[in-house]
């Protein structure tokens, strides 16, 4: 049973979003980290990079798999979780505590297209 936090928004590609004012904190779901197995590398954008909803902004690599990270919102990257550069396994330890990027949103209405916790739970069938 994967952990799903109430109050967050989720994408169908298994990213979560926590809204803090106009900033979206983005990570991957507990379900996603379990599916990937031991994560060995998180490929992240740089601060000031632009991201677009529905488009790739980085990738997760495990020992023998690689999976794109898809941005749930559009905007400008204002922070990346540098801890993950040397300790990518933190995503396995707690996928919600260990966010990946923070995005200053250019169009917060995009949040409405994302799933709530109940809908995401239904999506992953748990």
């Amino acid at each position: 049973m994967s952990k799903i936090l109430a109050g967050l928004k989720y994408s169908e590609s298994h990213e979560w979003v926590k809204v803090e004012g106009n900033v979206a904190v983005v990570g991957v779901s507990d379900f996603a980290q379990k599916e990937m197995g031991d994560i060995t590398y998180v490929d992240m954008p740089e601060v000031d990079d632009e991201v677009t909803a529905g488009e790739e902004f980085g990738a997760l690599e495990s020992v023998k798999a690689s999976s794109d990270l898809i941005s749930p919102v559009s905007g400008t990257v204002v922070a990346v979780n540098e801890e993950l550069e040397d300790a990518p396994e933190k995503v396995n330890e707690d996928a919600f505590e260990n966010w990946i990027i923070k995005v200053e949103m250019s169009d917060p209405s995009e949040l409405d297209k994302l799933l709530d916790a109940e809908a995401y739970k239904a999506l992953i069938g748990e």
Binding site: T40, Y41, D43, D49, E61, S62, V63, K64, S66
Partner: protein, 442 residues
């Protein structure tokens, strides 16, 4: 349908398969091919030959090969291949080897690739080496793609005009089909221009520059300031090297290069009518996740024994699919083994000696040729090792032909109207004097 000894399927098998895919005949499978491109009727092939006839035929062809004394380099060098190399590499365990797919069971193969990687890292001074590339020019093309992948949103790669002509052509081909824009750095005085590099980099769209360590004129280039200019705009410095010369010239690491590539034929591989050769690539650790090809790493098994594995596979095409920066999922394994045995045998001192003897021979030949009065020195103040160019005062095309008739491959015509010479440790003073004598006779 026509039966063939090599097809195992019966007519009933074929019919069952046709029924399954829902077509009437084998011809229907080619329905999408325009009629005019379909071959009808028999092939005009000669009759089959017996084994002895085949041997005789190829022996006749072999007799037509001319065995010339090689005084030309241009990217492929006639260095000596010690007999121990073919002896070891032709052991059946090695000779049948291909890049390891069932990798961890192939510990012997992984081990020599690991040693190969370690030796190339030592030669170039960079952190990480892959399991080898197809050849030097394609390694340069991969470096171009890697520079684009490492520097987000930059679209242009600069090539030095002093790179070998065939390297430029292969990189141009890859660039065309990967949508990479190329810029060119002039080398009018025999050395890639730093001023031109600085001017191009200032435009802001440059992902990297590929420059030769020892260039097409044989000149040892000075790359002071190159890395600074490129790194200031987050662009990469790629050094194209003849790895044999890295024993005596400044290494890519000493120039603060990010990637080193080149043709490793000069490390013990015979010329052999053009191949197989082997390319190499080493990179700074920062860029290891964008590196093409396979990488062998060292670890310990569950009993604590030293073992070897393929590592960082998540970059490779079979996992990353169309997002992979390269489609190379192989290596040039047997040729990498030749390099490994050669370097093990020569050691750092042996490789220095190869360079010293070659350079002594080349400097002697150049002095003798200039003394004939038939040439102008093109780049008199530039340092060179085993290779150099001269400008003939008359009829360059005739000289190469004349020397060929006398048993020498020398005085290669270049695009610029120069003639190019190279001397390796295999060439004797007697051979050199004989060549000069023929030139003198004019």
């Amino acid at each position: 349908m026509a039966q063939c000894a090599y097809f195992p399927h019966t007519d009933a098998d074929v019919q069952a398969m046709l029924d399954k895919v829902g077509v009437k005949s084998l011809d229907d499978l080619y329905g999408d091919v325009p009629k005019e491109f379909l071959k009808r009727g028999a092939y005009a092939l000669p009759d089959a030959l017996s084994e002895q006839e085949i041997r005789d035929y190829f022996h006749e062809l072999e007799q037509m090969n001319a065995s010339l004394k090689v005084f030309v380099g241009a990217g492929a060098y006639d260095h000596y291949t010690p007999a121990v190399i073919p002896y070891i590499t032709q052991r059946s365990e090695f000779l049948t080897a291909y890049t390891p797919y069932q990798c961890e069971i192939s510990q012997g193969t992984l081990r020599y690739i690991f040693e190969y990687q370690s030796m190339l890292c030592a030669l170039t001074g960079l952190d990480i080496c892959n399991a080898s590339m197809y050849d030097g020019p394609t390694a340069a093309a991969e470096a171009m793609k890697m520079a684009i992948a490492c520097t987000k949103k930059k679209t242009r790669v600069l090539l030095s005009r002093a790179l070998l002509p065939h390297v430029i052509k292969v990189v141009e081909t890859y660039a065309k089909f990967h949508g990479v824009e190329l810029g060119y750095l002039p080398a009018g005085d025999g050395q890639t221009s730093l001023e031109a590099l600085q001017a191009e980099v200032r435009k802001g769209d440059v992902a990297g520059a590929i420059v030769p360590s020892v260039n097409r004129y044989g000149i040892v280039e000075d790359h002071a300031g190159f890395a600074d200019a490129l790194h200031a705009q987050k662009a990469l410095l790629v050094e194209y090297c003849d790895p044999s010369t890295l024993a005596v010239v400044r290494t890519p690491a000493e120039w603060d290069a990010d990637i080193a590539v080149g043709e490793a034929q000069s490390l013990g591989l015979p010329l052999c009518y053009g191949g197989p050769y082997v390319g190499f690539m080493t990179v700074k650790k920062d860029y290891m996740r964008k590196m093409p090809g396979r990488i062998v790493g060292q670890t310990v098994d569950k009993e604590g024994r030293r073992v070897f594995v393929l590592t960082l596979q998540a970059r490779e095409q079979h996992i990353k699919r169309e997002k992979a920066t390269s489609n190379i999922c192989s290596n040039e394994s047997l040729m990498a083994l030749w390099v490994t045995v050669y370097l093990s045998l020569m050691g750092p001192e042996g490789l220095k000696e190869v360079n010293r003897i070659s350079a002594d021979g080349a400097h002697y030949l150049k002095a003798q040729l200039l003394a004939t009065g038939q040439f102008e020195d093109v780049f008199p103040d530039k340092p060179f090792l085993k290779e150099f160019v001269l400008k003939p005062k008359k009829f360059p095309g005739l000289l190469q032909k004349k020397l060929e008739e006398a048993g020498f491959f020398a005085a290669l015509d270049t695009e610029e109207g120069y003639v190019s010479f190279c001397v390796t440790e295999k060439r004797t003073k007697e051979e050199t004097d004989q060549l000069v004598k023929i030139v003198k006779e004019g």
